[in-house]
């Protein structure tokens, strides 16, 4: 079976969205909802049913990764996780080295469930540590403290082969020295993977409202943000954890395989409230979006289809999406594959101009953003897209 659009380079992944949290963090614009309690049985069955529905549409594939994201998937009962993984195993062939990641909040109650997750098949966790400073954790509205997070990290390392954690930096009142110190501590801890995000004030969050009223003070200027980013690149590379993506760091071979599916613009199935999917069937690429509200999604999934929409992605849009995703990676995008999708995206003249400006470079047919280019990637992409 040959495909003119080479989705296979990206692999084939499954994303499972768990939309519930204990509390809503003031910076968070994810599809997460705070509810008193969740009856997990119907959820487990609905997620499993959705997976089986997709397996009919996209049969016979080899699954290379599963990712439980949220929300807070570490609020799922291990049995729920087992049911979902079981449904996936019944639907597609698992790759020998399949990566199964679960996003976890680093609290003791959740660490207690780690063993159960491992038994269900999870082999990688990503911990939302967010900060190693008590005051800042409180400002970020987190429910854990530094000690608790470190303890959870210790347990995770014993239970799982691979452990990553997330930090949010460029926080209120943080200066370059503060971050240098904190990142140094993080690099001491880190084993195989680290996600380092600059705080983004997203519309629809409590931080946004505060910022609109001028009450979110001490956020770094563009220049300080840039300095922090550059420092981060330097320190991580020095510690053997170079950036393989804008905000993600790992030694070669330890990258998040699931997230690489997105960035290499492979195929993935998305199930659960608000989940997005992209997959190819007979040379046609589809975009699926599930109902966003848990109370809408569950009955819809139970009735046989949790999706809000399924649309064909036109070739030019595929090129744009591939560019948006792929230039985030230090390996860049395959120019031939990009231009096979569309000739009007990333025209040679613009590539040349941006190359002259030191923002892009081409090596062995891969179009890559330089460090300077990656730091202004939104503007670079805007130039490349007609």
């Amino acid at each position: 079976m040959t495909q003119p659009e080479n989705w296979q380079t990206g692999g084939f992944g499954l994303y499972v969205h768990w939309p519930f949290c204990e509390a809503k963090c003031p910076y968070c614009d994810f599809n997460s909802h705070v509810v008193a309690s969740v009856d997990q049985r119907p959820w487990a069955e609905a997620l499993a049913a959705e997976i089986r529905r997709y397996a009919e549409a996209v049969p016979g594939r080899v699954l290379t990764s599963i990712f439980f994201g949220g929300g807070t998937p570490s609020l799922m009962a291990p049995e729920t996780v087992a049911t979902v993984i079981g449904a996936a195993r019944g639907s597609w062939t698992f790759a020998n080295d399949i990566e199964i990641t679960l996003e976890a909040n680093p609290r003791s109650v959740e660490a207690a469930r780690f063993e159960g997750y491992a038994r269900a098949g999870v082999n990688r966790v990503s911990l939302g540590v967010q900060s190693l400073r008590e005051d800042d954790l409180r400002k970020l509205g987190r429910l854990h403290d530094v000690k608790e997070a470190q303890a959870a990290f210790g347990i995770a390392r014993e239970v799982f082969d691979r452990v990553s954690f997330d930090l949010i930096y460029a926080r209120q009142g943080q200066n370059l020295r503060d971050w240098e110190e904190e990142l140094g501590e993080a690099l001491e801890m880190a084993v195989d993977h680290l996600s380092l995000y600059q705080l983004t004030v997203e519309p629809g969050t409590a931080f946004w409202d505060r910022a609109q009223k001028g009450r979110l003070k001490g956020l770094p200027t563009e220049d300080l943000g840039a300095d922090m980013y550059e420092l981060t690149q330097e320190l991580c590379a020095g510690a053997g954890m170079p950036a393989y993506e804008v905000s993600n760091h790992a030694p070669a071979g330890s990258e998040s395989r699931h997230n690489l599916v997105y960035w290499r613009y492979g195929d993935w199935i998305g199930v659960g409230p608000g989940a997005h999917g992209r997959f190819s069937v007979h040379n046609t690429r589809y975009e699926t979006i599930a109902h966003r509200m848990p109370g809408v999604w569950l009955p819809a999934a139970q009735a046989g289809n949790g999706d809000l929409s399924r649309d064909v992605v036109p070739m030019e849009d595929q090129a744009i999406e591939y560019l948006i995703m792929g230039l985030r990676l230090s390996e860049g995008v395959d120019l031939e594959r990009l231009h096979n999708m569309s000739r009007s995206v990333a025209p040679d003249a613009v590539i040349e101009e941006l190359t002259r400006m030191g923002l892009l470079r081409i090596s062995s047919h891969q179009l890559k953003a330089t460090l300077e280019g990656r730091m202004v990637l939104n503007s670079v992409i805007e130039k490349l897209v007609p």
């Binding site: 994303y15 994201g69 995000y197 600059q198 705080l199 983004t200 563009e222 220049d223 943000g225 840039a226 980013y229 804008v246 905000s247 997230n259 997105y262 993935w268 998305g270 608000g274 989940a275 997005h276 999917g277 992209r278 975009e287 979006i289 849009d317 744009i320 999406e321 948006i324 995703m325 985030r328 400006m357 923002l359 990656r374 730091m375 202004v376 990637l377 939104n378 503007s379 670079v380 992409i381 805007e382 130039k383 897209v385």
Partner: protein
């Protein structure tokens, strides 16, 4: 049947800005039951979005109300609510020509202000009977006795029987109504059967009815179905609809001498009506027209260009309609190398400019670029020719120019003593020459000779801010005087931006150039490369700033679900860019063109 003339009273409500004209109009409308209680709202007559947002009156508005007076007669009152801002003084004087009396509203907590004086002079010129009304007596700071005295001292009119009112709470409104019928004159008796002479007070474009014409009948009678002629433009139309404002339109069969109302006909061309024109019947019409209005003179000019060149035709249409609605706004086509087709427009002041631009953008949905406002300079060329310079971009090479003259104004500023120092300094900074400094009723009155170009941009804003809003200001054009004036160019990324060129006094050039470059540095978003911003006179750079290159613009997180979102964001960004204009490789946001000119200190 038209109304018997002795039962008509026509009057305008005039005052300094914010002294409560529109609120008083509300109360008069309300107390006479003209508008149902449930339809009442504050400043009812300020119907335009911009008026409601800014809380000021821009267009004069007419309402007809019926008032059963104490003498047992029911009178027809035609009131015209006028704007208070100095830019719209022309609108006030025009309104006054259509009526016989004025209610002079004075805020009893503020007293006589610059526009109060200006309005009284206009009212006296129009031969008006004036009834002083002291408003806002509900305020603790109100001092009606002191203000009444001030009116007598400063203005010289009898204020002993001024009405004491609160337009807000309704105190004293019945007295105002009685004063209108007992103290203001009825229109002069004229023959209802004489040939028709009606004055065209105002006209505007209504999306449903087309051109609506506001008239005051002086002699004779106009009837629905009449065929009329505009005596100056020669246009002939049938009267399709005849009516009065209450304040919504109400049809009437005829309007006789002394009455105010509107008509619509098949008037297609916006150019066919001219305020001050005389309307008569086509057959058996009048022979001589009424004296016309003194035309308004625009003093501030700027170029308006559509951001999207494809909008030019829509813009032409919109400008024509607006010009009809606003007789004091002028326009002619202009082309610019960088901005394409647009219009060079004349305005009465900067607020007027902002209002017109706002209305074009909102009511007609066109994004505009406004070039640096300018006044008209007189150029005396070496070959003896005299030229008018409307647009600094057209300034010829200095070797051909003998000298330049600029317009000067006489400004009257009234201010409490404690702010006088700041006001004098501001006038000094703006190259003002003091003509007079006196005290009226505890306030200082400074009279200055100032160059108009130092006043048009932001003088009024600055004056308000240095005096915490306590100063008032009025001006009139005085004439032209020679001075050392040069053209300053702004170069962005080494390319001159014509739309930012301006004439400046040589001694002030460095200061203005530096201020402009600093402002632009904040107003232009960072680009992927660094951008020099320079001010230059005749090729010599006098100020320079550098906008550093953008350093960070990247989304921190982007996972599976974000592909769609990022794509949408990209589209939005591209649409946002359309609101900017490209100069060479640099995109300049439209608001930069005016904001850059405002000086903060």
């Amino acid at each position: 049947m038209s109304t018997p003339q002795h039962l008509i009273r026509n009057f305008s409500i005039v005052a300094h800005i914010d002294h409560g004209k529109s609120t008083l109009a509300d109360r008069l409308i309300q107390l006479t039951g003209t508008v149902a209680e449930r339809d009442m709202k504050a400043q009812l007559l300020d119907a335009m979005d911009i008026e409601r947002e800014r809380g000021i009156t821009i267009k004069a508005n007419t309402v007809r109300i019926d008032y059963p007076a104490k003498d047992g007669n029911t009178y027809v009152l035609n009131l015209i609510d006028t704007p208070g801002h100095v830019d719209f003084a022309y609108e006030v004087s025009r309104s006054m020509r259509a009526v016989e009396g004025s209610l002079l509203v004075v805020d009893a907590s503020q007293g006589v202000e610059a526009q109060t004086l200006a309005n009284v002079y206009t009212a006296i010129e129009a031969d008006h009977e004036i009834v002083p009304v002291l408003n806002k007596v509900d305020l603790p700071a109100a001092e009606p006795e002191r203000v009444a005295e001030q009116i007598e001292d400063v203005i010289g009119i009898d204020a002993s029987n001024a009405c004491l009112i609160s337009a807000k709470t309704g105190i004293g409104i019945p007295d105002v109504l009685e004063a209108i019928v007992t103290r203001l004159p009825a229109p002069p008796e004229k023959d209802a059967n004489a040939p028709l002479k009606a004055m065209l007070i105002d006209s505007w474009y209504d999306p449903y009815l087309g051109v609506v014409v506001l008239i005051r009948v002086m002699e004779g009678t106009i009837r629905k179905g009449d065929n009329i002629r505009m005596m100056r433009t020669g246009g002939k139309y049938g009267v399709d609809k005849l009516g009065v404002f209450r304040p919504q339109m109400q049809d009437v069969a005829e309007l006789g001498p002394g009455e105010i109302g509107f008509f619509t006909g098949s008037i297609k061309q916006v150019r066919d009506t001219r305020v001050g024109d005389t309307i008569t019947t086509e057959k058996k019409g009048a022979e001589t027209p009424l004296p016309g209005f003194k035309p308004s003179i625009p003093v501030v000019f700027c170029g308006l260009f559509p951001v999207d060149a494809n909008d030019f035709e829509d813009m032409r249409d919109a400008i024509e309609k607006l010009a009809l609605n606003d007789a004091s706004f002028t326009y002619e086509m202009e082309t610019s190398a960088a901005l394409g087709f647009g219009f060079r427009c004349g305005f009465l002041g900067l607020l007027h400019l902002e209002v017109i631009r706002d209305r074009l953008e909102r009511e007609y949905d066109i994004d505009l670029i406004t070039t640096a406002p300018s006044v008209i300079y007189h150029l005396y060329m070496k070959d003896g020719e005299r030229r008018d310079l409307h647009n600094p971009a057209d300034m010829p090479d200095l070797t051909y120019v003998d000298h330049v003259e600029e317009p000067r104004i006489k400004a009257t500023i009234m201010v409490p003593d404690e702010y006088l120092g700041d006001v004098l300094k501001l006038c000094q900074d703006r190259r003002g020459i003091q003509l007079d400094l006196t005290y009226v009723g505890g306030r200082a009155m400074a009279v200055y000779d100032l160059p108009l170009n130092e006043v048009v941009f932001d003088f009024y804003d600055r004056l308000k801010s240095v005096t915490k809003g306590y100063a008032s200001f009025d001006y009139q054009l005085e004439g032209y005087r020679e001075d050392n004036l040069v053209k300053m160019q702004i170069l962005v990324n080494d390319e001159p931006v014509d739309a930012l060129s301006m004439m400046v006094h040589r001694d002030r050039a460095e200061m203005r150039g530096r201020a402009m470059c600093e402002k632009l540095k904040d107003l232009i978003p960072r680009h992927m490369f660094k951008i020099p911003i320079q001010a230059a006179i005749g090729g010599k750079v006098i100020a320079r700033e550098t906008l550093s290159a953008m350093r960070k613009d990247v989304t921190a997180k982007c996972y599976g679900g974000d592909a769609t979102r990022k794509k949408k964001l990209l589209e939005k960004q591209k649409a946002g860019k359309k609101k900017m204009r490209q100069f060479g490789k640099v995109e300049i946001p439209q608001e930069a063109f005016i904001s850059a000119l405002k000086m903060d200190n």
